[in-house]
């Protein structure tokens, strides 16, 4: 019969309408501005309307979410800070749109490079958020941020981030990416202990060799 298709379609629309009401009731009027309901609404169990009331409520971003990189530094016990970055330049080389500029300096006396960048720039207008810099950094010194609200009125000055703007403490990273942080720290600790063991073994060998020499 002509019109049954339209009626069936209307049935789908009505169902959506009712789903939203049932959803509303099940949250006892706490549908919006409520983290629990947000998770349900956005998950596989969600029924009804799935809109998010941005900016009052925001979707939680997953750990791997990537937006504009930042640099990590560690705080020492005496209050000074150490950059993890050694200015090796891998991030600047792998960067597809070439938005990273690193200033490396060298010791005026020995001429050897100093393993901390003098300055570090990222042009965030050019950055395409691909995450390569973080992926290929051998020192876990550059990571992708979760802060995506970077709109500003000024384009010329505000959008080239320098080292002051990029620097963030390791704790911040541990906070936004707990799983990755734990895994990386474990790997670093393992690598460190292996390195120490190798060093100790080498020293051992040296000592035994020296001893043998002495004995001979």
């Amino acid at each position: 019969m002509y019109g049954t298709g339209i009626m069936r379609g209307m049935g789908v629309t009505i169902k959506h309408l009712f789903d939203t009401f049932v959803d509303d009731l099940s949250f006892l009027g706490q549908r919006y501005y409520n983290e629990d309901s947000l998770n349900v609404r956005q998950g596989t169990r969600g029924r009804g309307v799935f809109t998010v009331q941005y900016p009052e409520e925001k979707l939680p971003v997953p750990e791997r979410f990537r937006f504009i990189p930042f640099l990590l530094y560690e705080e020492n016990e005496d209050g000074s800070t150490t950059d993890r970055c050694t200015s090796c330049g891998i991030c600047a080389k792998v960067c597809p749109p070439q938005c990273i500029w690193i200033e490396r300096s060298s010791d005026p006396e020995t001429g050897r490079p100093i393993p901390e960048p003098t300055n570090f720039f990222i042009d965030i207008d050019i950055c395409m958020n691909c995450g390569y810099c973080a992926e290929y950094c051998p020192f876990d010194a550059i990571k992708m941020d979760h802060d995506y609200e970077l709109a500003s009125y000024d384009r010329i000055e505000a959008h080239i981030f320098d080292k002051d703007r990029l620097d963030k403490p390791v704790e911040y990273y541990a906070d936004i990416c707990p799983t990755d942080y734990a895994a990386e720290e474990k790997a670093r600790a393992e690598a460190d202990s292996k390195k120490a063991a190798r060093k100790a073994a080498a020293a051992d060998r040296k000592r035994t060799a020296a001893n043998k020499k002495d004995a001979a």
Partner: protein, 592 residues
């Protein structure tokens, strides 16, 4: 995958093309450069060879035509990839011409699908195709100086031939690229071009060349006129323009005009290193970035010959099929927008898509610009949890329950709807012969009854392990192109279910040690995947260095548009919008 050969280059293999090869012995010679395949054809014999291949041995589908500039040899090469729609590998033919005076006979009369691709080569390389009915620039405008894909052409912000650029490290001399512009105003005009007295000749000739003859036998005398639809409107698909010649309300001719979003993706690709291209492929068809990644990874892996771990293969297929579902959801939603059902169907459709994007975001870090595949696997394994649920449970629930329910709902909502049927059935009919001749691909081709799906006819990755049927529909109208997308979503969900059952629960997802600067052995390679919109191909030429010498994208949206004018003739203006919607284009891929 890596062992699989494309083309019939090596002499030992016997193929169906052999009789033609021997018949045209004087015009053909095998391409003997290292890493290259196929045959080099004498330019003047090309149409004869192609006609014979098409008519006598069934190479009826010309998939890709592209140019390569071999600056050192002083030659331009045009590369043709032809297939049989019955399945099997590609036949790779090349024509070499002098760089100074490049003329090649056009293949539009043999394969009408070569139309836009030849215009693109004319535009970007300056090769003239003799006998082409409409040889105008396609992506650039009249006042553009030079042919940008030639190796000696440099862009306004040119810094260096290849990335990484020297200024980035260790000097760290930061500056904005605007301050660096060589042309001052960002443009350089060709000699004798005066912008103040400029007459848009190509537009004038475009309008003049339209067929404005309507039918004479009618009671109502109607005017013929030319209407520009776009470059903003054609129903939100992007910056695209259709020049329509109308007789009353009836379309007598239609020419698509594109290039408004052109950014010379391929030139950028040749400056990039191999790995740096991966995130750029996301931005081609930005609705299906996962499968764009896959196609490029396959093309480069073919050259590198790396082995891909089992779990990575399954993850790739899972992501590619989820992409297909999300893309078709979008396509159907916006087809309904084009039909005038504003936003409600689109929102119902993209609701399930949100969950797919959640999976992408949690796994790859971004909802749309995934940048997930690497040469030798994928970037990362699935995360432990997704929105406080176990990820595997989340995806299993998604493909077992949520997506099938969403597809069924869409089906119930729209398929039987009398208004949808009245607007779609019998509109924009594409007969199968025409679909093949015009190199239509993907749902557009299969809705015309041609069972050509790369996942079956030339399987890549691990598609040969899954049990699925190639969907076809017999009529080739807008309605069938809608229904086939519902069918394909069901097939994709089914493949995803098989993946979730069979995928090894753990294991490596990347072979070897991740390298930021991969070296790729010299040679050429053509990797193609069945993207949601059709066959996506990457033609990559490597010289053994870290940057690709040639990087070409066979964009399904772009080539599917070749047939748009034919489809719209005889229909009403409102139908043109619907027909465009049923082809399902993304301008990021059309214009590149």
């Amino acid at each position: 995958m890596s062992e699989q050969k494309l083309g019939v280059g090596s002499a030992e293999e016997t193929t169906v093309a052999d009789p033609i090869i021997s018949r045209f012995q004087d015009a053909l010679r095998p391409d003997e450069r290292k890493g290259y395949e196929g045959y080099i054809v004498a330019a003047e014999r090309l149409p004869a060879v192609m006609t014979a291949l098409r008519d006598d041995v069934g190479y009826d589908y010309l998939s890709s035509v592209t140019g390569v500039d071999y600056l050192d040899e002083g030659q331009l090469e045009v590369v043709y990839h032809a297939y049989q729609t019955s399945g099997g590998p590609a036949l790779n033919l090349k024509v070499q011409v002098d760089r100074e005076n490049p003329v090649i006979p056009s293949l539009v009369s043999v394969y009408p699908g070569a139309d836009f691709q030849e215009r693109e080569i004319f535009d970007l390389y300056g090769v003239r195709f003799e006998g082409h009915p409409n040889l105008r620039r396609i992506l650039m405008w009249d006042g553009f100086d030079g042919h940008p894909m030639r190796k000696d052409w440099q862009e306004a912000y040119f810094e260096e031939e290849k990335k990484p650029f020297d200024s980035r490290w260790p000097g760290g001399d930061v500056r904005r690229s605007e301050d660096d512009n060589r042309f001052g105003k960002n443009v350089s005009y060709p000699d004798g071009f005066e912008i103040d007295n400029w007459v848009p000749e190509s537009d004038e000739s475009l309008y003049a060349g339209l067929n404005k003859a309507g039918s004479n036998d009618k009671a109502l005398r109607t005017d013929t006129l030319v209407v520009n639809m776009g470059p903003q409107h054609p129903s939100t698909h992007g910056v695209f323009r259709m020049v329509v010649a109308l007789d009353g309300e009836t379309i007598t001719d239609l020419q698509p005009v594109m290039g408004y979003l052109h950014r010379n993706h391929e030139k950028i690709g040749e400056r990039n290193t191999f790995l740096q291209n991966m995130p750029y492929t996301d931005r081609l068809d930005y609705l299906s970035s996962m499968s764009n990644n896959l196609g490029y990874a396959l093309a480069v892996e073919k050259l590198m010959g790396v082995h891909i771990p089992e779990r990575a293969e399954y993850l790739r297929v899972l992501m590619a099929e989820l992409t297909r579902v999300s893309n078709h959801m979008w396509a159907i939603g916006f087809l309904l927008n084009d039909l005038g059902a504003f936003q409600t169907p689109a929102l119902y459709a993209i609701r399930a898509r949100e969950l797919i994007l959640d999976v992408f975001e949690a796994t790859a870090g971004s909802r749309m610009m995934c940048n997930y595949m690497r040469f030798g696997g994928v970037a990362r394994d699935l995360p432990e949890t997704l929105r406080d649920e176990n990820t595997v449970d989340f995806i299993t629930d998604l493909v077992d329950n949520r997506l099938p329910a969403a597809i069924d709902e869409l089906d119930r909502f729209l398929t039987g709807n009398e208004i949808v049927r009245a607007r779609c059935i019998g509109v924009g009919v594409l007969p199968p012969e025409k679909a093949i001749a015009y190199s239509a691909a993907g749902p557009l081709l299969r809705a015309s009854g041609v069972p050509y799906d790369l996942r079956r006819s030339d399987p890549y990755s691990i598609y040969d392990r899954f049990d699925f049927e190639v969907c076809t529909r017999p009529n080739g109208d807008v309605y069938d192109r809608y229904v086939i997308r519902i069918d394909e979503m069901r097939t994709s969900v089914n493949i995803c279910q098989q993946v979730m059952r069979e995928m090894p629960s753990e294991g490596e997802v990347f072979a070897g040690k991740p390298q930021y600067n991969v070296r790729v052995p010299a040679g050429e390679s053509y990797g193609r995947v069945e993207n949601p919109k059709g066959e996506l191909g990457y033609y990559v030429v490597s010289t053994g260095k870290t940057n690709p010498y040639r990087y070409h994208v066979r964009a399904p949206s772009f080539i599917n548009l070749t047939v748009l004018g034919e489809l719209c003739k005889g229909h009403k203006v409102a139908d043109a919008v619907v027909i465009l919607g049923s082809i399902d284009i993304v301008l990021g891929e059309v214009d590149r």
